[in-house]
Symmetry: C2
Subunit: 218 residues, 2 copies
Amino acid sequence: MTERVYMERNILQGNQAIAQENRNLLKKESILTMNVLSSPGAGKTTFLEKLLPKIKERFNVAVIEGDVATTLDSERIAAHGVHAVQINTHGACHLDAKMISGALKHFDLANFDMLIIENVGNLVCPAEFDLGEDLRIVLLSTTEGLDKVVKYPVAFRRADAVILNKIDLLPYLSFDVHQFKADVQRLNPNAPIFLISAVSGEGMEEWINWLQGKMEKV
Amino acid sequence: MTERVYMERNILQGNQAIAQENRNLLKKESILTMNVLSSPGAGKTTFLEKLLPKIKERFNVAVIEGDVATTLDSERIAAHGVHAVQINTHGACHLDAKMISGALKHFDLANFDMLIIENVGNLVCPAEFDLGEDLRIVLLSTTEGLDKVVKYPVAFRRADAVILNKIDLLPYLSFDVHQFKADVQRLNPNAPIFLISAVSGEGMEEWINWLQGKMEKV
């Protein structure tokens, strides 16, 4: 495994340099950039579909969608009248900074003040790759089970906010929200935790208030 | 990206050779090997916890658990009196044939007639890596949403059986089972589809009957 690990380290260093270029470019244009991570099926796209109509009157939002093979997600986002660019990774399990750099060329950045990147559905690989974002949002859904926080520590440790989605299903699951909060806080004492249902809209307002606070500081 | 793709191809070729060695070794010992793939949180471990008590009287089952960082899953399996070995991938998003080859040294293979490998929770990377298994089982849960079949075609196309888990939550979700079956069958007309709830046990019997049929052919 040593050779593989060494290779990965080289890839990560190369990625970091490009991520910093992305960050500088986005900062120059006063764009707040958010990288959204979750497992597949945790509800990232539904979450964005709920978020975008509520913020697009106030902010000009661009979206980059990462997916292994399809354009399904960017089509869902574009249906909300938001400029969305799809990156297909052709099998790779995460976005990297170079892919983002390429996608940014499709936007006239002067027209935007927020960029949302929906990463490939995965809590392992995307956690290692800085894309140049200001905020990293990790989303877990109640149906995935409590053990995921302990199992994917890197993702949770580096999150700027943690969102628990699908709280509308809590009555039908044995998911201990109290324990979830304790597990997240042990790994990452500073990240705020939001409980939401992207389907019902419950809890979205508190989260949007937090996001708006971040926008004011850009 | 070209360099990366080339590198991946080399890795896959190296993997394939070791997978074939694993397959030969397991075949010699008349062990049926099953590689279980799913997203994190789809219920793989709960599924095995329901399966093992029902089959361990008839078959001597060994389990290999893949995880990024913890030993939580192998502890859950060992609690059922089954010999389980944990592989921690230290960040890698899938098991490979070499890891399995190493784990097999921890078992006295002559004592077993079934090996179950629980892969790292992920539907992207594990799909590309043959481990030497006879059967590849892909598990999707109803809460992940219908689009996952189209989004992760490689995993579904190469499955020997597809299991839809968490059917107990169907009344609370907008998940179209008919469409799910049609999407799977379009990618993979030959794979049988089983609808189960690992929590309630519903549908487990039909699936176990299928598995038992495979055991008789070893």
